[in-house]
């Protein structure tokens, strides 16, 4: 599997990132080098191995469903780049394009 410019464009779109043409070229090279290195995992037959997503065996942790104090609205809005009264404000959703 080799990463192309088209792949970089596609993944950048998924990740909500934009890059200059020069940066994209660099990324093609770097991603290919790193993914080539990762390819060595294919030497291993893992068809009978379960994926490990959590290193410590834990079962569900339950607690009583009690009301506890959380952040106030004012606190939650304190770091907002832009706000309007009690809301986060963002630029218009529908663009010009």
């Amino acid at each position: 599997m080799s990463v192309t410019l088209r792949d970089v464009d596609h993944v950048a779109k998924l990740a909500n990132l934009s890059f200059s043409d020069e940066e994209k070229q660099t990324l093609v090279g770097e991603l290919n080098a790193i993914l080539d290195y990762m390819e060595q995992l294919n030497e291993l037959d893992t068809s009978n191995v379960d994926p490990l997503s959590h290193v410590i065996e834990l079962s569900n942790v339950f607690r009583d469903d009690e009301l506890k104090p959380g952040l106030s609205r004012e606190e939650a809005l304190r770091n907002a780049p832009q706000r309007s009264e009690k809301f986060f404000k963002v630029p218009k959703v529908l663009g010009d394009r």
Binding site: N16, H54, V55
Partner: protein
């Protein structure tokens, strides 16, 4: 020789010194070397005010277990009312709304938080070169990197700017800077310390742990920060044992394993010599040394970087300019706000890892990379579980080399990743590990030796670390 907390506390209690004097000295040490760039924020007035309050508690006889200990906190952990930047432009002006559990537990025992330390952006890096606020210099040799990503925490302790520090370790980010700066650094078992209030990098790997001048002080900090937390359901319910009680210096009969595969990995001569000295000392003291096999050792780095970048790309999706953090002033609509805020706010390495992580999670590649990585992670963990049936602890170098020079690996991300070869394993397996100083190389640069233990057996890890730090240096 740096005094341990025990002796510092004694001199405060005897009236020989005070928390205020100690704190002022440390603020002075920070002012003396601003070029080190270890701190992103220094709490001058607050630290002195707090020190006076703790002095009062000493007089009243109500001083907590770590009263007067001056602590530096990596700027990825929340401290209420203060900024938490994660070394990133995207969070440059973000103010914490609550305390991380690890921080609040230390504050409850009357530590003095002196400041927030510099780091590789979002804890991605091994050199501090990826901080948006400039690199941290290694206090031992300013042409060298201090290690990363908890660069400022390691440097601050080494330079006498704090007694101890908190860092976070996702693939070696506590142990590697500890080794490069010549201090003790420990990553506890996954689930031993609450991650509440830690800005997540890779949720299945991240752990908070201490930097200190001695294993005993690392044990004291761990004692306080470890244990169940209702705010983090992945914390272990197991009781926290008395760690100081395990520091007996008695290693007789202890079974120590040496992972053969690791010693083939291009280790520089001085590091290898220090490692063999440590092995010899343990042997002379009555420990039983044996070789162990970790058959999947050569797959550690690849597995780690697949899973870590996948988790990171998902965790960092929340930075979109809407509710907090940097928002691009150029954005004309919502989609542009996401795209430009992220592209302008994140640094190069963070974007590279988000791209990698997004790629390995994307349709068509998920099975081949991400799921494959999770399967190999199980094989890797099984290797360790198997090894720990025969031994009580594993011994290995912390890093293959001592601190490298600025720029040496910055242009080749893969070379930088490969320098984590001995540290990522503890994060992959979830095991506790410590790095302790083991002398210097021919150029005077610190060498670190790493001890790894079974899940939740921090006591044995600390015991061996404590023994080695006395014997080797």
């Amino acid at each position: 020789m740096n005094p341990t907390y025990e002796s510092i506390r004694r001199s405060i209690e005897s009236g020989e010194t005070s928390c205020e004097t100690i704190t002022a000295e440390m603020l002075g040490a920070i002012d003396d070397r601003p070029g080190l760039n270890a701190f992103l924020a220094v709490f001058r007035e607050n630290a002195i005010a707090r020190a006076r309050e703790v002095d009062r508690k000493f007089r009243d006889g109500t001083a907590g277990r770590l009263a007067g200990m001056v602590v530096a906190v990596k700027d990825v952990l929340c401290l209420r009312g203060e900024r938490v930047t994660c070394g990133s432009k995207i969070l440059e002006s973000f103010e914490s709304l609550y305390d991380a559990t690890a921080v609040s537990r230390l504050l409850n025992e009357d530590v003095i938080v002196i400041g927030k330390t510099n780091m590789d952006e979002f804890a991605m890096g091994s050199s501090s070169e990826h901080s948006a606020f400039g690199p941290v210099l290694n206090p031992v040799d300013s042409t060298r990197v201090p290690g990363g990503s908890s660069s400022g925490s390691g440097a601050a302790v080494a330079a006498g700017m704090a007694h101890t520090a908190l860092g976070t370790d996702t693939g070696g980010s506590i142990r590697q800077p500890a080794a490069f700066c010549g201090v003790v650094g420990m990553k506890p078992t996954y689930g031993r310390v609450s991650r509440y209030g830690l800005v997540a990098l890779s949720s299945s790997f991240d752990q908070i742990g201490p930097f200190a001048h001695s294993t005993a002080d690392a044990a004291r900090v761990l004692q306080v920060i470890a244990g169940k937390d209702d705010a983090d359901s992945t914390t272990s319910q197991d009781p926290v044992p008395d760690y100081l009680a395990s520091l007996t210096k008695d290693v007789r009969g202890l079974r120590i394993g040496i992972p053969e595969e690791f010693l083939k990995e291009g280790i520089c001569d001085d590091v290898l010599a220090a490692f063999h000295r440590a092995v010899d000392r343990l042997k002379e003291a009555g420990a039983k040394i044996s070789n162990v096999r970790l058959p999947h050792a050569r797959y550690h780095i690849a597995t780690y970087y697949i899973l870590m970048t996948a988790e990171a790309s998902s965790n960092l999706a929340r930075f979109d300019g809407a509710r907090y953090g940097y928002r691009s002033p150029r954005a004309k609509d919502l989609q542009e706000m996401y795209l430009l805020s992220r592209s302008e706010g994140f640094g190069q390495e963070v974007k590279r890892r988000i791209m990698l992580g997004t790629y390995v999670l994307s349709a068509g590649y998920y099975d081949a990379y991400y799921l494959k990585g999770q399967r190999v992670r199980r094989l890797i963990q099984s290797d360790f579980l198997e090894a720990f049936r025969a031994v009580d602890a594993l011994l290995m170098p912390t890093t293959p080399t001592t601190a490298f020079r600025f720029g040496e690996k910055a242009s080749d991300p893969l070379q930088m990743y490969l320098s984590d070869v001995f540290t990522v394993s503890a994060n992959l397996a979830g095991t506790p590990a410590i790095s302790v100083p083991a002398g210097n190389d021919s150029e005077g640069l610190p060498i670190g030796i790493q001890v790894m233990g079974k899940h939740f057996d921090e006591a044995t890890v600390l015991k061996v670390g404590d023994f080695l730090e006395e014997e080797v240096t």
